[in-house]
Each structure stands twice: as structure tokens, then as C-alpha cells.
């Protein structure tokens, strides 16, 4: 199946495959953990049963998604060593401690309090239960902070020197953790996780509104998610713009690839909306472009000069077509989210939020689009960093482990089969749960407990029992 590929290519495919599958789950669980904390907080404050029912509903979905995130995440923590051991040896002194902090301050926190959040309300009481719920949400955010610091350092390395063994060694931890692209990337990703969750919640709300527009739970969650969209999407677009300007400063080649700028534009660069990057001829065919707009966005001056890929040595260029397209997918979806949020805000203003089936259908269509946008964004930034693992310093081809191509090919095939089987089944189960309304008492086959991390008999007697059901 993979004859003729080098170990490097196979290892890159394997990493891209496993990390792409993995990021889907954190992107959802970061947002959902915060949503659960908000729902539980609102329930405790208002004692409105709708919030409790929604909390119980989404926590079951959270448990399944979280379990998938845990097992796909364990793979990541070993993949650095199995396929990229030279990278690990060289960057370990700098990146290793950050990852250790992620495990210590995030993973244990999530795992430790998840059980209490899911099933401990009866055992520990409302206050401690709320604390546990908040700790799970806090843990997911801590995890995002550390891993984005690691990734950002690979994009914009700082605060290091290189020792006689060729290892990166720390000089200034503050500069390492808060490297130049970190604040932008973190903001962009956390907002993306919130939007992804809001879109899923909105899609599920839209589905149940289509079936019954009087459904109180569907109304509440649809309304919350549409508020989230109209508030967060503009912030996200602004954060994305800031992130892009930061990238222009530190990784200009990536921005050139995103923009499809093969040539330099000394008198103001056009914004290419669409076109087909032609890497042989080094131009964008059939380009539809708006003059000067790229300079306007990136430099905030219509005639500001912008360098193109002609200023970058060929062996330091990222693959243009992938970056160019994935960037457009992400941006396009971002504006689609803004459109959905604005439309919903308009219908709400007219008092018709729950009586517009077309809007609900649009929300269902957009339900999974957060995941697509997150993946497209990560593809843009990761492929845009090539041909380096540590931008400008360590090449991908110099990061590989001394593994044989057949070994990588065999494990890659195994990962592909297992992931499609396992996560395919998991997706079916998740969709099946989302297909039921929050008021359904039997969300799974059996009433009550979920078993990811927290079930014990006594808790099961009455896990967040809902009166009247």
C-alpha cells in the first residue's frame, strides 16, 4: 500500500493523520467543558430545570468525546519519540518541560475531577460538584495553554541557545513560554474551540427546533449558541487578523503561501480571492483578485510593499497549494459563521428566532463546520511551517527517527484502520445521542450513567435525577 514512500514521508503522513484525528476532540471538549460549567452555574443560581437537563444531556456527550480525546492523545505523547526521535532529543530540553507541565497541571486535573463532575453530585454536594466541573473546564484550558505554547515555540522559537550536542537548551523560560506567536495562537485556538462547540450546540438545537419549535431545551440551547456566535465570531475574525499580522512578521513565507504571492509587489499587493496555485510556473492561474487589498489587510496601507516567494530560497518554501486552499476554507467558514450569527441576531430582533426553519436548517449545516475550520486552520499553520519542524532552525528531514520505512508503513496502516473503526463507531454513537432530545431520559441504551471516568453504584441511584421524568 505504501511501497516506494520514504520513512520520512510515511512518518509525516502518520503524524498528520493521528494529530488531525486528535485535535477534533480537544477542539470540542475545551468548549464543551466551559459550556457545562456555565450550565451548571446557571442551574445553581436560577434553579431552572432546563439548565440541569441540558447539563445532564451534554455531559454524557462530553464523556464519550473526552474518552476519544484521551486515547488519541496518549498516542501523540509517544509519537514524538517513535517517529521523530531526533526532534525529541534536540528539542526535549526546551519543549519537554512544557509538556510535562501540561500533564501535571491539566491532564491529571481533568482526569481527577471528571468522575466527580459526571457522577459525584449526590456524593459530594452541589458546591464541590460545581468546583469539580469548574476544575475540568480549567484543566482543558490549561492543556490548551501549554500545548499551544509548545506549538508556537516550534513556529517562532525564542529564548534558547544550541549546545555542543546540537540540542536546543533553555536560556530564558519566560521567552520560551511566551514566544512571539503564542498569545495570538492561543487566543485564536481557544475562540475556535468555543465556536466549534457553539456550532455543534446550535446544530443540535436547530435539529430539535425543526421537530418541535416549542421544545424548551432546544430553544434555550439554540438561543445560547446563537448569542455565542454573534459575540465570538467578530472577536475571532479580529484575533485571526492579528495572528496573521504576527505571522507576517515572524514567518513571512507562510503568509506568502497563504496569499498565493509568488511574486513581490513593491507597490501594493492584491488580495487573491480564488485561483489555482501553479507551483511549476510559480504563479496563480485564473486568479480573481482585488487590487491592493492584501497590503491593506496586512500592512494597513494600500500601497505598502509586500515580498513574495521569489525572495525565499526554493528549499525553504512551504507547499503553496495546500496552505493556499486550507487558508481559504478556514476564512470562508469563518465568514459563514458570522453570517449565521448575524442572521440569527436579526431573527431574534424580530422575535422570530424559533420560527425560522430555514435558519435552523442552516444551523444544522453549520454544526460540524467548526471542526472543518479548526482542521483547515491547523493545516495552514503546520504545512506553512514546512520544511521545518522548528521554524528556520531544524528541518523536518533532520528530525526523523532512525526507523525503517516498512515499520512506519505497517504502523500507519494499523492507525488508519483502527482510527476509522474506533472513531467511526464513536461518531455514530455521538450522533445517535445528539439525535435524541435533552428531555429523553434514556440517552444511551441505558438510563443514567456514563462510564468514562466516573461511575459508582451509589451515584448511579440518582445521577442528577430530573423530577417528573
Amino acid at each position: 500500500m505504501f511501497d516506494g514512500f520514504t520513512a520520512e514521508t510515511l512518518a509525516r503522513i502518520q503524524f498528520a493523520f493521528t494529530v488531525s484525528f486528535h485535535i477534533i476532540f480537544p477542539a470540542f471538549s475545551i468548549g464543551l467543558a466551559s459550556y457545562l460549567a456555565v450550565l451548571n452555574g446557571l442551574w445553581l443560581r436560577t434553579r431552572d430545570e432546563t439548565y440541569l437537563t441540558l447539563f445532564t444531556y451534554w455531559k454524557k456527550i462530553f464523556a464519550v468525546a473526552f474518552g476519544m480525546g484521551v486515547v488519541s492523545g496518549i498516542v501523540m505523547s509517544y509519537q514524538f519519540g517513535t517517529n521523530w526521535s531526533v526532534f525529541s532529543d534536540k528539542t526535549g530540553p526546551v519543549l519537554g518541560p512544557l509538556m510535562a507541565y501540561e500533564v501535571l497541571s491539566a491532564f491529571f486535573l481533568e482526569a481527577g475531577f471528571l468522575g466527580i463532575m459526571l457522577f459525584g453530585r449526590e456524593r459530594v454536594g452541589d458546591k464541590l460538584h460545581m468546583f469539580a466541573t469548574a476544575m475540568v473546564a480549567f484543566g482543558t484550558l490549561m492543556s490548551a495553554i501549554w500545548i499551544l505554547s509548545v506549538n508556537s515555540w516550534m513556529q517562532t522559537p525564542a529564548g534558547y541557545s544550541i549546545n555542543e550536542l546540537g540540542q536546543f537548551v533553555p536560556e530564558d523560560w519566560w521567552q520560551i513560554v511566551f514566544n512571539p506567536s503564542f498569545p495570538y495562537r492561543l487566543t485564536h485556538m481557544v475562540l475556535a474551540a468555543y465556536l466549534t462547540t457553539a456550532l455543534v450546540v446550535g446544530g443540535v438545537g436547530g435539529l430539535h427546533l425543526l421537530r418541535n419549535r416549542k421544545d424548551a431545551h432546544a430553544r434555550r440551547s439554540f438561543s445560547m449558541s446563537m448569542w455565542m456566535l454573534i459575540v465570538v465570531t467578530p472577536l475571532q475574525i479580529f484575533a485571526g487578523d492579528m495572528h496573521g499580522i504576527n505571522t507576517l512578521e515572524h514567518q513571512p513565507a507562510k503568509v506568502m503561501a497563504m496569499e498565493g504571492h509568488y511574486d513581490s509587489h513593491p507597490d501594493g499587493a492584491p488580495l487573491i480571492l480564488f485561483g489555482i496555485p501553479n507551483s511549476e510556473e510559480k504563479r496563480v492561474d485564473y486568479a480573481i483578485q482585488i487590487p491592493y487589498l492584501s497590503s491593506m489587510i496586512l500592512k494597513h496601507h494600500w500601497d505598502a510593499p509586500l515580498d513574495g516567494l521569489d525572495t525565499i530560497p526554493d528549499d525553504e518554501e512551504p507547499p503553496v497549494a495546500i496552505v493556499f486552499w486550507s487558508f481559504r476554507v478556514m476564512v470562508g467558514l469563518g465568514f459563514a459563521m458570522l453570517g449565521l450569527g448575524a442572521w440569527a441576531a436579526w431573527r431574534r430582533f424580530r422575535g422570530r428566532l424559533y420560527d425560522t426553519p430555514l435558519l435552523h436548517r442552516a444551523a444544522i449545516m453549520m454544526g460540524p463546520m467548526g471542526f472543518v475550520a479548526v482542521l483547515a486552520g491547523w493545516i495552514t499553520t503546520e504545512v506553512g511551517r514546512q520544511p521545518f519542524t522548528v521554524y528556520g532552525v531544524l528541518r523536518t528531514s533532520d528530525s526523523l527517527a532512525p526507523v525503517a520505512a516498512p515499520a512506519v508503513a505497517a504502523s500507519l496502516i494499523a492507525f488508519i484502520i483502527v482510527y476509522f473503526f474506533i472513531f467511526g463507531a464513536g461518531t455514530v454513537y455521538l450522533l445517535r445521542m445528539m439525535n435524541k432530545t435533552p428531555a429523553t431520559s434514556k440517552l444511551g441504551l441505558r438510563d443514567g450513567p456514563i462510564r468514562t471516568a466516573g461511575i459508582t453504584p451509589i451515584a448511579q441511584t440518582n445521577p442528577d435525577a430530573i423530577p417528573g421524568e
Binding site: 484521551v70 526535549g92 510535562a100 533553555p170 532512525p402 526507523v403 471516568a453 453504584p457
Partner: protein, 333 residues
């Protein structure tokens, strides 16, 4: 003596040991899963570990992440050297981990996830044992990289340690179920634990005898001070733990067999430590050579000293919240 790298070797060893005994018993429950008699017992066994397996496995992530952080060279050598067993272990852990959730979400497909739970548990345990055996055999290193082939880990010795770990984990699992259950299931586990205990001790004996032949240096470590002190103490300590195990089983004690089984694991782990020291990867890479620069060790140590006690505290709290016997009747309202 108290160099940062040695403190860190101790911390990593602690993390690995914590992983082995914690995930050891919950992998063991998975290994024994097919022996459950009917849905009630299956539910009881799975529920006994459902609240905690996730936290237990996080210690494995800490082992990997910690090694990457403080002994990046050891991480960079071990992972390619043990490529196949590690990948297979990871895949096995995926099957087993999702089974906790999935088996309750389908009626027709339930048997698939029951099989995944058992298969994932036993393969993960077997691969961990193989990885241990391959490490004891020694790993070929040249120019700061693994220098062997991708089948070097496979030997009679590593297969033997693989089976030994499966049997040992099953013992931990059986004694855990004894602790958490009552009646018929508990009584059956008591009899299984008897055989598993005898098997574990037999494997410990065989592996202990064969280990020195893997590398003559192991002889030296056990015959010279301070190792020789342990050569005298260890067999006695293991026998004492074994005595506690079997008397506890015979007297139908709840907790004693589990504690005794854990003690056997701790003692074996110390034994492995004596064989390895001062190497982190036998036969030639030392702890000091593999360590990251002091600046990395110091930075990571600050957080570890503050956070690990907190982790232990809230982990203990979670175990305490979900204490007591499992009653499957209560699970299905």
C-alpha cells in the same frame, strides 16, 4: 550524589511504578473480563474501575512526557527501539479505553466492545512486559541514536517477561475485584488469585534467574555493595509478601491480598532498579548522560514538587469518594 538528574530518575521511576500498580490492576480486570459470569458480573467488574482508569492512564502519559522532558535522549532511543511493542500497546489502549463508554451505547455491538476491552487489556499488558524484557536485554546505541533493527526487541526472554506481566497484572486485577465485590464473583476471584499468585511468583523466579545472563554487569550489581544487601533482603521480602497474599486469600480478607500483590510489584520494581542503576538504558546509557541540561531539570522540578503532591491528594480524594463495594443492582435504574 543529589544531582538533579538523580532526583529526576527517582521521580520518573516513581511515576512509572505508580502507573504499573494503578493501571496494572485495571488492565488486570480487563484480562479477567471473559471470566465474568453473565452481564451482572461484567458490569460489576467494569464499574469497579470505570471511575479511575482515566486517571491511572495519565501516569503513562507522565512517564512518556516526563522522559521527553528530563531524559530526552533516553526517550529518543527507547521509542524507536521499542517501536512495534509501543505502537501495539497504544492501539490496544485505544480499544480498551473506548470500550468503557461504547459498550453502553449499543446492544447489537456490545460483544465487539467486550472483546475490545479484553483484547486491548491483554495486548497492552503483554507489550509492556515485552518492552521491559527488551530493556533488560539491552539496547544498542550509537551516536546518540538507536542503532539496532526493528525486530531486536523480540526474544524468548522478552516474550517470557511479556507473559509474566500479563499474569502479574491479572493477579492485581483479581485481588482488586476481591476488594471491591462480594459473594460468588469475589469467591471465584479468590481461587483465581491463588493460581495467579503462584504463577506470578514462578515467573518472578525464572526471570530473576535469567536476568543476570542478559548482561554480566547485572551479576556485579547484585554481588557487590550496596546491591548485595538487597540480594539478601529481596527474596525474603518477596516471600513475606507472598505469605501475606496466600494467608489473606485463605482467610477471605478483603484488602490484604490486594496490598500484598501491590507489595510484590513494588519489590520487583526495586529489583529492576538495582539491576539498571546507574544506567537508564542498559547496557551503556547512564542517567547522567541522558539527562537534559540542569536548567530544564530545575524548571520542571519546581512544578513537579508543587503539583505532584496536589495530584496525589485529589486522586486519593477521588478514590475515597467512590469507595466501597460495587453493587451492580444499583447501577441500572
Amino acid at each position: 550524589m543529589f544531582e538533579l538528574s538523580f532526583i529526576w530518575a527517582g521521580i520518573i521511576a516513581f511515576a512509572v511504578l505508580t502507573y504499573v500498580i494503578l493501571d496494572g490492576f485495571d488492565l488486570g480486570v480487563g484480562i479477567l473480563f471473559p471470566l465474568a459470569d453473565g452481564e451482572r458480573e461484567k458490569a460489576t467488574m467494569m464499574n469497579s474501575i470505570a471511575p479511575i482508569w482515566d486517571g491511572n492512564e495519565t501516569w503513562l502519559v507522565l512517564g512518556g512526557g516526563g522522559l521527553f522532558a528530563v531524559f530526552p535522549l533516553a526517550y529518543a532511543i527507547i521509542m524507536p527501539a521499542l517501536y512495534m511493542p509501543i505502537i501495539l500497546m497504544l492501539l490496544a489502549l485505544i480499544f480498551r479505553g473506548v470500550a468503557f463508554e461504547y459498550r453502553w451505547r449499543t446492544e447489537h455491538g456490545k460483544y465487539i466492545w467486550d472483546a475490545a476491552f479484553f483484547g486491548g487489556s491483554i495486548v497492552a499488558a503483554f507489550m509492556q512486559g515485552i518492552a521491559l524484557g527488551a530493556l533488560v536485554q539491552g539496547i544498542e546505541v550509537a551516536n546518540r541514536a538507536y542503532a539496532g533493527g526493528w525486530w531486536d526487541w523480540l526474544s524468548v526472554f522478552s516474550l517470557l517477561t511479556g507473559v509474566a506481566v500479563v499474569v502479574g497484572y491479572a493477579l492485581l486485577g483479581a485481588t482488586w475485584i476481591i476488594l471491591k465485590t462480594e459473594n460468588a464473583l469475589q469467591r471465584r476471584m479468590q481461587s483465581y488469585a491463588w493460581y495467579l499468585g503462584a504463577g506470578t511468583l514462578a515467573f518472578i523466579g525464572v526471570v530473576s534467574i535469567l536476568t543476570p545472563f542478559q548482561d554480566p554487569e547485572y551479576f556485579q550489581r547484585w554481588l557487590n555493595l550496596p546491591g548485595s544487601i538487597f540480594s539478601v533482603i529481596m527474596p525474603g521480602a518477596v516471600l513475606a509478601a507472598a505469605w501475606a497474599l496466600f494467608t489473606g486469600l485463605n482467610a477471605s480478607k478483603d484488602a490484604q491480598p490486594f496490598i500484598a500483590a501491590l507489595s510484590i510489584f513494588v519489590l520487583c520494581f526495586i529489583g529492576i532498579g538495582i539491576s539498571f542503576y546507574p544506567n537508564i538504558i542498559p547496557p551503556s546509557l547512564t542517567i547522567a548522560e541522558a539527562a537534559a541540561p540542569d536548567e530544564s531539570l530545575r524548571f520542571a522540578l519546581i512544578g513537579t514538587v508543587i503539583l505532584v503532591p496536589m495530584i496525589l491528594a485529589y486522586t486519593a480524594y477521588a478514590y475515597w469518594v467512590f469507595r466501597g463495594k460495587i453493587d451492580p443492582e444499583e447501577g441500572y435504574h
